[in-house]
Symmetry: C3
Subunit: 134 residues, 3 copies
């Protein structure tokens, strides 16, 4: 399966971790392509900052985040990291966004495997059973 | 076909009903997985409240909603209900979100069939011809 | 491959152009279905107006758009137009949205090929290797 992670709000990153876990549980290889705000969310700087909820859901968002803390739900990053430890999960940074945002390798979270172009990613998506744009 | 319904704004719920109808018209089985704000949108409480448009489209959103009323376009919920009456449409609640939001069966709209885990859903998606994240 | 373009903010339209280019580079046919704010974004009127960034990313959005201008990154529309010149890219307007917004053929950008129903689109998606909802 593949996921194009375009979004950078914490509510949309959560499904990335959970769906990767679900994919791994079903024995699938998981390829994640980080682009735009999705790539920014995987920078060390952003990971160290306070996570933001999508503005459409601000009203209820705080309550849900509080419930997560109370129920000791692991963060999306921890969930994704665990999926990567258990199964074949690869995290790719979009070369175009990487250049556009003038990033360096050391800016990116440890979970990121490499920087690839959109053509290379589409080649993976072509052969995948499930493709999602998040 | 499968749809992961993550979003809870009325403009994004509309395509859920319409695409389910389109899928049914093409003879496809439709499995819908409600998660996060998508599951919240399918609670009786939320369905009884005033629908909200995505903040990115507030400027034009009101006009479009007004056009819908004038042209007697059925609501997204009615559209989905009709698709379910005509074809094989199943609506699943995400177990994790269900637990996180401390929901009970009676909180959910009648259209919801069951509560399942992400692994079970990914097993359906694996065999589907079309998978969408909305 | 197919893409359902629901969104109308410039940050989400950018991937439409780039992914179409990637698909064409991999020898795929690309069918794009414009619906809701996605169809509105493809009107001549909207294309002539100042592009808007998703509200979730306004803080960093301005910086990224500036970087795009400085690095002479072509617009999403130019990128999509180029993909259409190189490969088999078809741009379809959603009939329901078209009627709902009381559009006329001359309102739409030149890149739009035709107006089709959701059933016809789902028939294309059924046979595609990659389907995305943007």
């Amino acid at each position: 399966m593949t996921m194009i992670v375009f979004s950078g709000t914490v509510d949309r990153l959560f499904p990335v971790g959970v769906l990767a876990s679900g994919g791994v549980a079903q024995g699938m290889d998981v390829d994640i392509f980080l682009t735009f705000w999705g790539l920014e969310a995987f920078t060390k700087k952003k990971l160290a900052s306070i996570p933001k909820i999508g503005k459409d859901y601000e009203a209820i968002g705080g309550m849900v985040m509080q419930a997560m803390q109370m129920k000791h739900v692991p963060s999306w990053y921890e969930t994704l990291k665990k999926a990567k430890e258990i199964g074949n999960v690869k995290v790719h940074a979009c070369a175009m966004t990487y250049d556009l945002m003038s990033m360096k390798k050391e800016d990116l979270a440890d979970i990121v495997d490499d920087v690839i172009g959109v053509g290379e990613f589409m080649d993976m998506a072509k052969d995948a059973k499930v493709n999602l744009f998040i």
